[in-house]
Assembly symmetry: C2
Homo-oligomer: 219 residues x 2
Amino acid sequence: MQPAAALPEPETAPKRARGRPRKTVDERDDGNRRQTLLAAAAHLFRLKGFAATTTRDIAAAADMQSGSPFYHFKSKGALLFAVMEEGMHSALARQRATAQTPGYADMPPSQQLRVLVGAHFAVLLGPGSDFVPVMLYEARSLPPRQHKALGLLIAEYESLWLPVLTARHARGELRAPVRLARLLILGAMNWSVQWFDPKKGASLQELTDAAMALFLKES
Amino acid sequence: MQPAAALPEPETAPKRARGRPRKTVDERDDGNRRQTLLAAAAHLFRLKGFAATTTRDIAAAADMQSGSPFYHFKSKGALLFAVMEEGMHSALARQRATAQTPGYADMPPSQQLRVLVGAHFAVLLGPGSDFVPVMLYEARSLPPRQHKALGLLIAEYESLWLPVLTARHARGELRAPVRLARLLILGAMNWSVQWFDPKKGASLQELTDAAMALFLKES
DNA sequence: CCTACCGATCGGTAGG
DNA sequence: CCTACCGATCGGTAGG
């Protein structure tokens, strides 16, 4: 028989705690409440969309009272923008890191492209990947100013693809116009957010292979 | 000097009439008010999303009072479902029509694919194409029952692509697994809703060409 | 299809 | 960060 309460379990999984355990005094939380809030918001925004998500939903998911998110964020919109910004920054960081991997510069363009594609799928579909999909699918919920700010980051991200695609185009291995090809390729990947299920079907690896086989004339 | 009012212009463009002209008696409208409502809803759902669109927005766009949409539709959700159903039916009709064009059966698979791709882009981006994008991007706003009903239509639509892709796969002209390839190809096209602008950049024709060049090893 | 309206919900805030 | 709350908005309805 297990005692139903007072398990001294040392908070192994602090996030997503269901059952809303009341906070005890020694759980004061360093100050990463803001991050908890962000993750909860990202998750719900991805699941239900920005407009359909309530600040109360977010508060509850972060184990707070309804008014508390506004202690950390000025508004619901500020929460959305913060989610998107974090999404773009992580995507940019990851993409830059792979492009600076030792040996990357010496790879043939097809290999470089494979690495980029794999990184993009990981950012989109890997563990903890709520931020970038929200960024991709909730852009219309942003006011013009923030929309423009995000646009700069996106343009920077997309620019990382240009050298590789241009190289392949020059070799005749990519016949579509480079910019259109980029839009179509990124689109094929971005849409995977709608159907990819890590628990069944293809793996991330198989997905990457299929995409490469589809986009390139020879592997 | 133009007189600012009383231009006897005979209602050349009945839809999208700004300034909300009060209805006159001889404008009684055959009964296509329902269709006007549907078009307005499709447009706004596409622009702002389902949750962010108000039934009052829709009423105003259709030149009605706030309560009137509910005379034609049981609920806001019923309006959404009707939009999506019409979108899928039109897409299916168009795709079936192209597949029954005389000569289609005799085309080589690459030509058949080109025709399908062109038809898909037209349904997605052509004039009056609000219904299908709403269907694609607002699926999560549907209750499970309707989501499933739509899923059947979508599956039917996707099944139309299988023979062509299988044929190309058999010829070695498509190396990716057929089902993954279909998801990626449709995804590349569906994403175009996010960036395609008929007023600038590539035309629908160029888009189709680029997609074919990207997806196929030889034209 | 309009008028007038209701109940519920939502983003946000004051004051601690 | 919580409590208690407000004003606005929203989907929907009664009754014509």
